[in-house]
Amino acid sequence: MERRELTFVERFYLVEVFKGLWLTGRHFFLNLSKHVKTQLGLHTLEKGAVTFQYPEERRPFSPRYRSRHRLTQREDGSPRCVACMMCETACPARCIYIVAGEHPDPNVEKYPIRFDIDLGVCIFCGFCVEACPEDAIRMDTGIVEIAAYSRKEMIYHIEDLLQ
């Protein structure tokens, strides 16, 4: 990298210090005035900080954001999934486990008896969503708080995913 020789003023340092103080000081007073205005209820549009106060206030997600999976439902509430195993095959982390059963409706061949996703293993790549021919699995719940006290609790079953 090419380094520029510092000028005398820059090497003198004091001027640069005052420039820096001016910058941070300006931020301080501008933000403080915005905070005060917000507290007084005058100026609600401009916030003095970029912070999202998380549990009360959530950062808006992009519509493409890949959050926790859900299984979509038919009109009668049964899963749209036909247990074709496409997602299980596509999954690079092998976190999906499906057991297929015969569907009572002759128009639908199969339905999943079990549909487990181990979220402790899932890498949230979204390949399962892309692979699905039936639009049965989506990652649009917006749920990101996936935490549990044990690995077993990290495995989500069909009844959790249908909600």
């Binding site: 004091l14 210090v17 820096g20 103080l21 941070t24 000081g25 931020h27 301080f28 933000n31 900080a49």
Partner: protein
Amino acid sequence: MLATLVIELTKVLVVLIGVLNLAAILTWMERKQSAVMQDRIGANRASIFGFRLFGLFQVLADGLKMFTKEDFVPETAHRFIHTMAPFLAAFFALIGFAVIPFGNVVTLFGREINLQIIDLNVGVLFIFAAMSLGIYGVVLAGWSSNNNYAFLGGMRGSSQMFSYEITIGAAILGVLMIFESMSLQDIVRGQGQLLWGFLPKWGFVVQPIGCILFLVAGIAETKRVPFDLPEGESEIIGYFVEYSSMKFGLFMLTDFVETVLIAALVTTLFFGGWQVPYLYQNGFSFPGGMTVEISQFWVALFQVLSYGIKVFFFCWLLLLIRWTLPRFRYDQLMRLGWQMIFPLSILNLLVTGAVILLLQ
């Protein structure tokens, strides 16, 4: 006799409680101010019965946490000195406030009360002595911990403080020469005069270079960020690496007390102490010839308030500097101290002397 005792004790308590509370509030201010400067919000979750009060309870929560932590002393450490060091550091930081005047002499119930704990005629020297002895806290903490990192931190701290102590002395000498006194109360009184009939003769006006040098050396003395090599909070962790619980808290508090001390000293020596421009014993008297008469009580109140506001402003400024500048490297620190600031302060001294001689 008893009345004198009560008055003196009241003054001591007012100063002690004031300084300790200001130092505690500075911990909150540091968080909030840095947050506001960096477009954040800062600590605001500590609450009592749902009242958050802008995170002010964080100070209480911190104190409570410090007190309830395990007070650990390493097995190989020197037990007595290890315990002694934080107390020494805090004591010598606090004792300096004894000679700093926070107001003029006021008459209350027929008694003349000097708003200063003790009016030493060598007040400046006393503060120097206290600040120099403050090094003992750092060195002993580093040494007695029997830990190489703590030892290195202590050594760095002591060499840094020695280097900048000299500059502090040389920077103040100019002020002493101009006001011809070592009593801080006299220096503040001297700053009540006017230059050319309108400009307050504050130390900053007559000694601008001395003021800046003193501020730089003072920040180095507090061991905070642009000069925080002995501590290096973010990585090396200096002399207090083996401290926990309230002993560590005391070191942290000492930093803030020293910040307040430097702010108070800058105010006293360079920004007129308790002086309000154009305010005299019986009211305002502006240079245009306009006068506003106000009673003794209000004059005293204005003066104490002015002192408080100035100290608070300089605390704010020191925090602003702390959150703006990056840290110096150790060789840069030493070069700045010995090759730039120290010669500059000597030069300032010579120029001041020459000017005083010419004006006589």
